[in-house]
């Protein structure tokens, strides 16, 4: 695993010049990087007037997608491993997440089937929740391999 030095940024948030609702987050491919990115993004969305509920939803979705890259992406480089573009519109947050990790199996995103309560009670699962959370909270979720990496796009509706 690459050595993580303390002077390298866990995440970097930049805002497009003249377009304050267009943001870019560069995230280190580690759990700490993801945490840092979510905290920064929460502040940025709060500054732009998003509700607590919206900020919560955005964090839930991005935590799952970004953690997935960290855990399964087999990243060679941790620094700036994940690039997230965010566009805050009136009724939605448009997102695009790119990483140089390995492709998704079968070149598609998991279906994330929500399990029945009977099954949950019987099995008491400790995982397998992520993709159903992502699918429940997003629209237009799509995946492509582009420029030698993964590109996941989606929209989070903002009521």
């Amino acid at each position: 695993m690459p050595h993580e030095t303390s002077d390298k940024a866990l995440c970097k948030l930049t805002v497009a010049k003249d377009e304050p609702n267009r943001m870019h987050l560069s995230v280190a491919g580690t759990n700490s990087g993801v945490r840092s990115a979510l905290e920064e993004l929460s502040e940025a969305l709060k500054d732009r007037g998003c509700s607590e509920d919206t900020i919560g939803t955005v964090q839930i979705v991005l935590a799952e997608l970004l953690n997935n890259v960290v855990e399964h992406g087999q990243l060679e480089e941790e620094q700036d491993a994940i690039s997230t573009k965010l566009d805050l519109l009136g009724g939605a947050l448009l997102c695009e997440i790119r990483d140089k990790g390995c492709p998704f199996p079968d070149a598609r995103l998991p279906t994330g089937k929500l399990r029945a309560v009977e099954e949950l009670e019987r099995d008491l699962p400790e995982g397998g929740f992520g993709w159903s959370l992502i699918r429940m909270l997003t629209e237009g979720l799509e995946y492509n391999r582009e420029d030698g990496g993964n590109c996941v796009r989606f929209m989070i509706p903002i009521p």
Binding site: N31, S32, V34, R35, L38, E52, D53, G56, T57, Q59, I60, A63, E64, N67, V70, E71, L114, R115, A116, V117, L120, E121, L124, P125, E126, G127, F129, G130, S132, L133, M136, L137
Partner: protein, 114 residues
Amino acid sequence: MQLSRKTVGPLQVVTTQESRIDASVAIQFKDTMRSLTQGVQGRIILDLNHVGFIDSSGLGAVVAAMKQLEPGQTLELAGLTPTVDKVFRLTRMDSIFTIHDSAESALGDVENAS
């Protein structure tokens, strides 16, 4: 991982000052819960009122904490903040746990029962 336990009447209340139970602390949470709950009998209330965010790893760690209980112990949750509550509800894992509005209301159950 800041987690502590105290006896409140017949209950054990575990509180945390961590604001996030996520992938970066899930394993420590599970391990610390195991050492804190070892050897205590009865109802254990995990008070999450300081926790503003939980991801699926954190949820898994809370489930793991329940699964590693000893006979004679139960784990209940209290003080779920909105985003944490949302994660439990959307995954349907809110049906797996007894969830109280607060640690105080969990104690209130005990008083009303007598």
